[in-house]
Each structure stands twice: as C-alpha cells, then as structure tokens.
C-alpha cells in the first residue's frame, strides 16, 4: 500500500526555551540534511507530497528558510534521486512581538490555564514568538500543489490531520489518528522502530506499524493519548477540540488497530496558540566535588555558610545584580525542595552518600558579569572551611578554568491563544521553484 503523503512533525518545545529564544535548531545541520535527503528520495519514488511541520525544532521563519536552503542543496546535488524540478511551499509562523503586544492590549489574546501573569510589555520583550498553525493553514499549503511543504511552527497533529480532513475523512478520526501518529512508532510495542502507516476514512482510522515484527495493540494505541497530554481525553487544536471519551479500539489482527468513535467539537472562535521566549540574563556555572566525609556529612551547613560569607565579603566588589543558586548533586539537585532522600532529611543523617557535587549557578545581566562573579566565588568553593577552627580544606575541580559560561538564559513567556477572523491572517504562505528549472 502506498501512502498519500509523508508527514513529519519536526519540532517541539520539549528540549526547552533555548531553541525558540535563539531561533535555532537542536540538531546538527548535517544530520538534518542526511535524513531529509532520504525523505526527498522517498517522495520522488512515491510521487506524493512531503510535508514537515515546525521545521528546525522551533519553527521560526529563519528555520523555514534554513530548511529551504537545505532542500535546494539536496535538489542540486541529486536531481535524479529527488526530482529535477521541484515546487516547494513555505508556511511561516513567526509573530512580531510588538504586534502581539498591540493585539494583547486590544483583547485579541487570552491566557490559557497556568499561563504566567504578563502584560503587553512582556509580549514585546520576547526575542522570538510563533503562532501554531492548524489544519487550515497546512491545507492552504497543500492546495498549492507543492511537491514539498516546509512549515514553521504548527501543532504536532495538524501536520498529519490536514490531508485527511481536506479529503472529507471523519474529523474526530483525523485528529485522533494524527495524535497517535505524531510520535511514530511510540504507539506500538517497539517505540524505536520508526514510522507507522495510518489509514483514514469516513468513520475513523487504522494504525499499522511499518517495522518488521512490530505490533500495535488497542493498549499501545490508546495509551498514546496519555503521552505529553495533561488531559487524556481532550486535545485542543485551532478551531475546536478532539474528544476521545467514546473512542473504541479494536485489534484487527496482531499488527493493526481500528479506532472509531472519536469526536471533533468545533468552537465558535478560531484561535491559534502562541509560544514566545525571552532572554533572562546570562549564566556561568562552577562545579566542585566534595569527597571529605566530614564535609559530605555537613554539606548543607557548609554551602549555607559559604554563601553567607561570600555575599557579606564580596558584595562591595560586585556592582551588578545577580542570582546565585547552589544545587547539591547526589543530595537534592534534581528535585530540590521536593526531595525526600537528602541526608539532612533522613533519620540518622545519611544513606551511604560519600560524595557531593556542588553546582553553583550565577545569573547576571551580562556574560562578563556572571563570569566575574563565578571567579570571585572560586576561592570559596576551593578552600572554604566548615568552621574557623579546622584546617583549610581543598576541594576537587575537574576543569581549568573551573567556571563554565552557559551563554544566554531563555525562558518561555507565553501560554496564550490569539483569536483570528481569518486563519491565514497570522501566517505567510509562499511558493518556490528549486532544482534544474529554477
């Protein structure tokens, strides 16, 4: 069976705000190019559209251009394999932070549950902002007849749901099948086995793994609605929401699962979700290892006293505002105040911990300021005694220099939706000719 489209979700917020904040891709250009070339060759063999959404991890306009550039390089290098003349559609999702601030002031933007309490100026302060395209915008790109569609930020599901919806398939089934398919073989018994094939029709959809020996079951398919979803039954999308409360999952055979009963519920207003990130200073990190049993046993006291003395002595030497945070690796670095097993909270004082990594994180307005404060802190991390009446200790640094510049810190800023009268109003669709005839 041949597919009607090869559709890929190419991005996520899951790796953190850095990629949106900087408008960059998480992965190496060479690996993106290698895998995209394979897909372009598959597209040429099958004669179907190739579609990627949220290009370059974050899906800003610059990443769409970056993917277009990679596509053109591949087309120039391998015209026999990928097609001599290709039409490419690009769908851009970046939003002007200044325009978003105006739209917020005009009441066109509203907060979702759990959103930060922010004002118009906070929108303007984003270094990058995007709107998530839904099925309507992806369908507009498909309607150009392009061989390849490179979309900026889009919902994971819209990239897959757009074509079956355009062809009149069951709307609930199209969105539900798209959610099941957005992580590929994660909805099977072998999550690392690659792609899955989804057949959409007028009543629902059927899931079939493509890997040899891989099976999908009602359990593996239905369980995927739990993944990265706060609500396992409802998924909000532009223009409505998917409700799978009454979905029925049936094993057609040991490999394939049939799903019917999912519902698409349109909403009165058409909204698209916004994402934005802002720069929140620069960071430098120092990591010192403490192995002396006496210090390990009193590590909390040591760090608290070290910080108090450092701030008291060095405050006159630091003109800049800064934040200093210690995390005790092997103690509570992962969970912080939620940790239940730290030595200080275990009756009897310990649970076999014999070393602690002390990570000091300095955040300041510039990289130079953060680095200078880390350098001021260094002698304390190296030699600070637990009490005045004991020999000067020395602790272990793995590197020279010991401090590590992390660069800019970015933070997610927006958890909001933008109301649109025309779904295309916040997006830009263009077509390009590449390859031999360009």
């Amino acid at each position: 069976m041949a597919p009607d489209i090869i559709a890929i979700d190419g991005g996520s917020t899951d790796s953190g705000p850095f990629y949106l904040g900087t408008g960059t891709c998480k992965y190496a250009r060479a690996s993106i190019k290698r895998e995209w070339a394979m897909l372009m060759r598959a597209r040429a063999r099958l004669g179907v559209p190739l579609l990627i959404g949220t290009a370059g991890t974050c899906g800003v306009d610059a990443m769409v251009d970056w993917m277009l550039e990679i596509t053109a390089e591949i087309a120039a290098a391998d015209p026999a394999g990928v097609g001599a003349a290709l039409q490419v559609a690009t769908l851009k999702s970046s939003q002007s932070p200044g325009t978003l601030a105006e739209q917020f002031s005009q009441g066109a933007i509203s907060a979702l549950e759990g959103a930060p309490n922010i004002q118009a100026a906070d929108f303007a302060g984003c270094s990058q902002a995007v709107a998530l395209a839904g099925a309507e915008q992806i369908q507009a790109a498909l309607e150009t007849g392009a061989d390849i569609i490179i979309a900026g930020r889009a919902t994971d599901t819209a990239v897959i749901a757009a074509l079956p919806l355009a062809r009149g398939c069951h709307a609930g089934g199209a969105w539900h099948g798209a959610k099941i398919g957005e992580c590929g073989a994660l909805a099977t018994d072998n999550p690392g086995s690659g792609a899955i094939l989804i057949e959409f029709d007028e009543a629902g959809f059927t899931v079939q793994p493509t890997g040899a020996g891989v099976q999908a079951s009602p359990h593996t398919v239905s369980a995927h609605m739990l993944y990265e979803n706060a609500d396992p039954f409802v998924l909000y999308e532009p223009g409505g929401y998917l409700d799978v409360t009454d979905a029925r999952y049936t094993a057609l055979d040991p490999r394939r699962v049939r799903v019917e009963g999912s519902a698409w519920v349109p909403t009165d207003a058409y909204t698209v979700k916004l994402e934005g990130a802002r720069q929140a200073g620069f960071q430098t990190v120092s990591l010192v290892m403490v192995r002396d049993p006496h210090y390990v046993a009193h590590i909390k006291d040591w760090v608290e006293e070290l910080e108090a003395v450092f701030r008291a002595r060095e405050a006159p030497n630091i003109a800049a505002d800064f934040a200093l945070e210690f995390r005790l690796m092997g103690q509570d670095a992962t969970l912080g105040a939620l940790e239940t097993q730290a030595m200080s909270r275990v009756r009897g004082g310990g649970s076999g911990v014999h070393e602690v990594g002390v990570m000091a994180i300095i955040t300041a307005a510039t990289q130079g300021q953060a680095r200078d404060i880390a350098r001021l802190l260094n002698p304390y991390l190296l030699h600070f005694p637990l009490t005045e009446n004991e020999p000067m200790p020395t602790f272990a640094f793995a590197f020279s220099p010991p401090e590590m510049d992390r660069g800019a810190l970015y933070e997610f800023q927006l958890n909001h939706v933008l109301r649109l009268e025309d779904p295309m109003a916040a997006f830009v669709l263009e077509t390009h000719e590449i390859g031999a005839s360009a």
């Binding site: 917020t13 239905s222 955040t363």
Partner: protein, 105 residues
C-alpha cells in the same frame, strides 16, 4: 521508571507543554488497577508534589489500567529555577507515595 513486576508496570512523568507536567501510573491488569487506585490518595500525591490539591488533576482510566495526574509545573520548563527540563523525575515521588501506602507489588 520501571516499578517491578507486581501491581505496577511503569510510572512515568513528562512535560505536557512548558507549563504542565503529567504523571502516568500503568498497572498490570484490572485487579492491580483497583488496588493501586485505592492506595493512591490524591491528597497524598499532592503533598508529595507540594501541589495545590485543587489544581492536581486526576484521571482514573479503567480501560487502560492507568491512573494519571497532571499539574502546573512548580517552575516553568527551562526557567532559572527549573531543575528538570523534561519533567522526568516527578514519577519517583508518586512511586514513593505508592510504596508508603502498601507498595507496588
């Protein structure tokens, strides 16, 4: 987080976007689901996560033998004070609640 071969097959936690985290407790079968559902008190889970019980969403999904909790992240993903970019470690705390209530096996 593999929780052994007794009542619970796996407990996992993951971001649900940058502002929420979700925790799934997968039980082995319907009988295990009933036992775990009764052992996992929502107020105890909220206490372990230091979350407002009114903002901790709970879903008991009998068909899948899953108990799911969702809550706003204590720190927005990647913010200066966030310690766990993918929300991976919250599962450990739910496992500890379950063990304190009678175990996972």
């Amino acid at each position: 987080l593999s929780a052994g071969t007794g009542l619970v097959r796996e407990i996992r936690s993951k971001n649900a976007g940058p502002f929420w985290v979700t925790i799934d407790v997968f039980c082995h079968d319907a009988e295990a689901f009933k036992i775990v559902r009764n052992r996992l008190e929502t107020v105890e889970v909220a206490w372990a996560l230091q979350a407002d019980p009114l903002r901790l969403k709970r879903f008991d999904i009998a068909d899948l033998h899953v108990i799911k909790f969702s809550l706003p992240r204590p720190q927005v993903q990647g913010a200066r004070l966030d310690r766990d970019m993918h929300g991976a470690s919250f599962a450990v705390l739910v496992q500890e609640v379950l063990e304190a209530a009678g175990g996972t096996g």
